[in-house]
């Protein structure tokens, strides 16, 4: 598989299917693993970095779940390629920096992504569409079992899996759920919800993970604690919290729908109008308008479009995606024009 092949298909997590997929975009489980005694990537020399990469490549061969995967060495990728992978949520910003012996293993469906030599030797993730953490856990647990047969993971009975940062020690697991909460934002209840999430030892981040701003009413909620609780228990806890947030968003949507229907229809259809007719549009404005369009789709106000089309637009209108589609570097202004063109063509109904 080549990177450009990804352009022609929809990532599993963007399909807009699965439980509660009106509010929950995707569910992701990430596991951090390290090889025993070999220095963690930030402390490793070239030889040790190479050793880790080779060991993972070897282990991959005997893992049935990783049969249809491709390994990309970060050294071989240019800045647009890297940005493209970040936009698709297949790797982190951190992984794109200092590329020595860094690699990314992804499968054809973009369900599995394994970063080699990021902050830890191995950072694997499984993504699912909708509210589906347990399914993601089932898949990643099996991959982890297979890899554990081939690799000697750093592990202590008392402290579990050993990671570069002590905030990940224990299960090495982070479960994240991407939520679309336009009604809680519009009704100004979101700060109350975010404060409650923080109190319960969970974190909220923006669309692109750590350190990113919440844009387009997207919020990523994940567990903070990784030690002292079994994986299933952590997932149960996240699920419990997410169910409550989903409930609150639904109530806010119903409230707006019954009390301010005209206002809501106006905002949603104006967004649709701008997207269908704009000739220059920034990615920020695109995300904000698409968010309203998606709400309109969820509420049955926009019948001409499905969730999948809108989800896809969120990703393909990002800067690196536009440049991959056009197959050349584009300036900001050129991108704003191409973006508007792409949106118009996709929304022709």
């Amino acid at each position: 598989m080549q990177l450009k092949d990804l352009l022609t298909h929809t990532s599993e997590w963007l399909k807009g299917t699965g439980p509660n997929s009106d509010i929950v975009i995707s569910s992701r489980i990430r596991l951090a693993r390290n090889l025993d005694k070999i220095p963690f990537p930030h402390q490793a020399n070239k030889k040790q970095g190479e050793q880790v990469f080779q060991a993972v490549e070897e282990a991959k061969k005997s893992t049935a779940y990783l049969k249809n995967t491709t390994t990309f060495e970060l050294e071989d990728l240019d800045s647009v390629d890297k940005q493209f992978l970040i936009e698709r949520h297949l790797m982190s910003y951190e992984h794109a920096q200092k590329t020595d012996h860094k690699a990314l293993i992804i499968d054809d469906e973009e369900i599995v992504a394994i970063m080699v030599n990021e902050e830890d030797h191995i950072r694997m993730q499984v993504m699912q569409s909708g509210f589906n953490l347990f399914e993601a856990w089932n898949i990643i647990n099996k991959i982890d079992d297979c890899l554990a047969k081939e690799l000697h993971f750093a592990f202590l009975a008392d402290w579990g899996y050993l990671t570069a940062c002590p905030t990940n020690t224990g299960t090495g697991m982070r479960g994240s759920v991407m939520l679309h909460l336009p009604a809680l934002v519009m009704t100004r209840q979101i700060n109350r919800v975010l404060a409650a999430i923080a109190k319960l030892s969970f974190t909220t981040r923006g669309l692109y993970g750590e350190g990113t701003q919440a844009t387009g009413n997207f919020f990523q909620v994940s567990n903070q604690v990784s030690l002292g609780r079994a994986e299933e228990e952590i997932i149960e806890n996240i699920n419990g919290l997410i169910k409550q947030i989903v409930e609150q968003e639904n109530q806010a949507r119903e409230g707006m729908f019954s009390r301010n229907r005209a206002m809501l229809e106006d905002r949603i259809n104006r967004s649709f109008g701008i997207l269908k007719s704009a000739h220059i549009i920034t990615s920020q404005e695109t995300i904000e308008l698409l968010s309203l369009l998606r709400l309109g789709c969820d509420l049955g106000m926009i019948k001409e479009l499905d969730r999948r089309t809108i989800n896809e637009l969120f990703i393909i209108t990002q800067p690196a995606h536009l440049q991959k589609i056009e197959n050349k570097k584009l300036s900001t202004q050129e991108r704003d024009i191409k973006r508007a063109e792409l949106i118009r063509s996709r929304l022709k109904v």
Binding site: P39, K149, F153, A157, D158, W159, G160, C165, L227
Partner: protein, 177 residues
């Protein structure tokens, strides 16, 4: 008003600090304020936040200065860990054990792992019946401060873990043969 730090110059910068819900007002001269802002900048960021947490955990009767402790496997010192917030390798966990235990507890509210084990088969429940249960008992014993009981349970857990690793080693040899 004179500066609260140097008590020489006129205070022109007024700062409110909140530490542990205690509010402090500081009135500083420009020079001392500059020093203070450098200090504050240095204190920020996750690594320093972690470093800050690690600092609190210094046992009261410390004989050897913690900063000199070094991991023999990767040469990272505890002082470096405090600075960068990242450990150097799996062996660091052993080298800095006495400081990491309390730190992990501070971060996670617990310093005892539950859940999956790196036993090579991954089939922890089939291979090691009762391990989870033992861990649960251990936590209970620690909570009720029954330390003798806790020590016994911990030994049992270690024994089971060791057996598991031996078994998987044998299995691997068999696989290889």
């Amino acid at each position: 008003m004179l500066c609260d730090i140097c008590a020489k110059n006129q205070a022109t910068v007024h700062l409110t600090e909140i530490i542990d819900e205690q509010m402090n007002e500081l009135h500083l001269c420009e020079e001392c304020a500059h020093q203070k802002s450098i200090q504050m900048e240095q204190q920020f960021g996750l690594s320093d936040l972690l470093g800050g947490l690690a600092e609190f955990e210094k046992p009261a009767q410390e004989k050897e200065p913690s900063v000199l402790i070094k991991c023999l496997n990767c040469s990272l010192t505890y002082a470096e860990f405090k600075k960068i917030g990242r450990l150097g390798c799996s062996e660091c966990y052993g080298a800095f054990k006495k400081y990491l235990g309390p730190l992990l507890k501070k971060i996670h509210g617990s310093n005892l792992h539950f859940g999956k084990s790196a036993c090579k088969t991954g089939k922890i429940s089939a291979k090691m019946p009762g391990l989870q249960e033992l861990r649960y008992q251990l936590q209970k014993a620690i909570e009720t401060e029954s330390f003798e009981e806790a020590a016994k349970i911990r030994d049992q857990i270690r024994e089971l873990e060791k057996k598991c690793l031996q078994n998987s080693g044998e299995e691997k040899e068999k696989d290889a043969a």
